[in-house]
């Protein structure tokens, strides 16, 4: 059964999501998309299907926030699956204040949704002019940036180059790993946002063999130190602000990793801190294995699989990335180091 790729579109109110959707729906791309929106807006509909739904956030009975799903999406995807012909993609627009967690988790948690569809990428549209205003008055703007695989830094024509640099630096502090496109009026080649295979374990390495070292590494390490040290906090308000801070941590190891130790460790970490870990990704050199082990997760949900063979002469490094809130770098570093084969 072929799985329909799903793109999740997030972004603060007014960032340019609707403009982007209109672009997708009206561009002559010869593909057929279904778009799930919160309500019927002024959308050009030709070949495409537009479904309006209320976001229904369903927690599981165990009360675990990481098992929270979008009930309406499960229903809509079940309905779309019954249509004849194959969709080229489903695009899910979330409300401006939405936490991207439940949407993403729906694609791990629900068996039917998992069978019929695959999460392709989380795309976050950021308003260059207003991001710095929003980023500190609620968690939403930060979470949306943190979850992203692709960030459209939009409305760049409305800010000065200096402002743009500040916004970009702040975005990179939150999420150094997303692909970032500077746009005006949400104009971006659709190939940059659709069909990214950002969640496809087998393709992560093929498309982005160096996804953990995209030149942001440097910046990120620096910013990370910044996050860790309250005295570096430029916002004087705040311990609270610091605790709520969203950032990323990357860990590397040049020693082969013991598979069992790693599985035990990562499942404990995700179980205990999954609420605060938005995204995790990794490529591991498992001792004794000829293939790379790749994994990625959203909160507590995690998928792992064997990827490509290590090439001759390739340096067998293990790399792990966590994006989240209140990440304890030292604890993660120690825990990961202990997974190395002795």
């Amino acid at each position: 059964m072929s799985q329909v790729p799903v793109t999740v579109l997030t972004g603060y109110l007014g960032a340019g999501k609707t403009t982007l959707l209109n672009r997708i729906l009206t561009e002559n791309h010869g593909r057929k998309y279904a778009v799930v929106i919160n309500e019927f807006g002024e959308l050009g509909i030709d070949n495409d299907i537009v479904v309006g739904t209320d976001e229904e956030i369903f927690e599981m009975n165990n009360g675990c926030i990481c098992c929270t799903v979008r009930g309406d999406l499960i229903r809509v995807i079940g309905g779309l699956a019954k249509r004849p012909g194959t969709l080229d993609g489903i695009i899910v627009e979330t409300t401006g204040l939405a936490d991207p967690g439940p949407v993403a988790q729906t694609f791990f948690q629900d068996d039917e949704v998992r069978t019929r569809t695959r999460l392709d990428a989380i795309v976050t549209v950021v308003d260059a002019r207003h991001f710095l205003l929003h980023v500190d008055d609620g968690v939403e703007a930060r979470e949306q940036a943190a979850f992203a695989d692709v960030i459209l830094l939009n409305k760049t024509d409305l800010v000065s180059p200096e402002e743009l640099a500040r916004v970009e630096a702040r975005l990179r502090q939150i999420n150094p790993y997303a692909r970032l496109h500077r746009t005006q009026k949400s104009a971006v080649a659709l190939a940059e946002i659709l069909g990214r295979h950002a969640f496809d374990l087998k393709r992560i390495l093929e498309i982005e063999p160096d996804f953990l070292e995209q030149g942001h590494h440097h910046l990120h390490d620096h910013d990370h130190e910044h996050c860790d040290d309250p005295t570096h906090d430029h916002h004087h308000d705040s311990h609270h602000h610091h605790l709520e801070n969203i950032g990323s941590i990357s860990l590397t190891s040049d020693k082969p990793i013991d598979e069992q130790k790693f599985q035990r460790w990562i499942s404990t970490i995700l179980r205990e801190f999954g609420t605060d870990i938005f995204r995790s990704k990794g490529i591991l050199d498992i001792s004794g294995a000829s293939k790379k082990y790749v994994f990625q997760g959203v909160h507590m949900m995690m998928d792992g699989d064997w990827g490509n063979l290590w090439k001759d002469g390739e340096s067998r490094m293990s790399k792990l990335v966590f994006i989240g809130r209140k990440l304890d770098a030292e604890q993660l570093r120690r825990g990961f180091a202990a997974c190395a084969t002795r």
Partner: protein, 340 residues
């Protein structure tokens, strides 16, 4: 399965290819016509008394035909679609409701009281002897509904539990039974003592109506999307297992007792289930396309359709109980004659 001549021992059947996902099928009250709701918006009315291949009808819904039931107050069928329309079929289809942007995914009918209920988002539209009523809004979109056996009540499953609406007298307050989580299927027991739901948490939940006490049966590999009580209310079956799995509700109930299990291993995961209205038979369809009929009394089962044709998406017994209709997600309909 490797037994020679196995296929020859299957009951006779008639096959119709609709070409689109079968989202629901049902016999009309006479059993002469089978109504089939399909993913391409068509609603087929297949004459079961005549073997000639039916010609495809014009699509009734602009989108997907999501649901179909026998008209509880007459001949033919009622169907719902993702075009927000509820249609009464007959010589010509008549529009009963049109809700822009809502989906008519779940319908229920009660023939004795000639009452029709249709879910439209968080609300339920009810047509009965006293006219049209709208129930709700409920805390979330209603996932499933079912009439009590006497038709005096209608239960709605939604996020956070179920709501029991009293249809007569119309001004009686509804009763809420709470259990956190999303409830995706609901069925009254035929003796009206219990209400069972299937949940997003891969479990069954059952309330004992006399006391309001509830119980949970968990450990299913996926969510239980369809439920079936045996006609005598002795056993509750659900999909999502590889064998017939029936929880015993006779006497004091299932607390502390294991479920009965029977069936042929290897058929796959059960995706559709339907109980015979007057006997201890249960029909089960699997994700492999296989269909088995089990007997909750003897705990034996027989394969009546081999694997293939996609996964079984709908099952319906004929009113007399001699024929079983099977629909699959690849658009295949089989009418299986069980008289032998």
């Amino acid at each position: 399965m490797s037994e020679p001549g196995f296929a020859e021992r299957l009951p006779p059947s008639r096959r119709v290819e609709t070409g689109a996902w079968v989202s629901g099928l049902t016999y009309d009250r006479t059993g002469r016509t089978l109504g089939v709701a399909c993913g391409d918006g068509r609603v087929w009315c297949i004459d079961t008394t005549n073997d000639s291949p039916p010609s495809p009808p014009e699509p009734a819904h602009r989108g997907v035909s999501l649901s179909i039931i026998a008209n509880p107050s007459g001949d033919s069928f009622i169907s719902g679609g993702d075009d927000g329309r509820l249609l009464r079929h007959g010589d010509a289809a008549r529009e009963l409701e049109s809700f822009k942007g809502r989906w008519f995914e779940r319908l229920a009918g009660h023939t004795k009281t000639a009452t029709l209920a249709a879910v439209a988002g968080k609300e339920i539209v009810v047509y009965g002897a006293s006219g049209r009523r709208v129930l709700g809004p409920h805390p979330s979109t209603v996932a499933d509904i079912d009439f009590s056996p006497d038709g005096s009540r209608l239960v709605a499953a939604h996020y956070g539990g179920v709501t029991i609406h009293v249809l007569k007298p119309a001004d009686a307050a509804p009763r809420s039974l709470e259990w956190k989580g999303s409830h995706v299927a609901v069925r009254y027991s035929p003796d009206a003592r219990f209400i069972a739901t299937g949940t997003q948490d891969n479990a069954l939940h059952v309330w004992r109506l006399a006391t309001g006490k509830d119980m949970q049966m968990s450990g299913y590999p996926v969510k239980v999307k369809q439920l079936a009580w045996s006609h005598d209310a002795r056993f509750l079956f659900g999909t999502a297992t590889s064998l017939f799995t029936g929880w015993p509700f006779a006497g004091k109930g299932p607390e502390g007792k294991p479920p009965i299990q029977f069936g042929d291993e290897g058929a796959g995961i059960m995706t559709a289930i339907a109980a015979h209205a007057a006997d201890s038979f249960i029909a089960a369809g699997f994700d492999t396309g296989e269909v088995q009929v089990g007997d909750s009394k003897t705990r034996r089962s027989a394969v009546i359709k081999l694997a293939g044709d996609g996964q079984v998406s709908a099952l319906a017994w004929s009113p007399g109980g001699w024929s079983l209709a099977v629909g699959t997600d690849q658009g295949v309909v089989e009418l299986i004659d069980l008289r032998r």
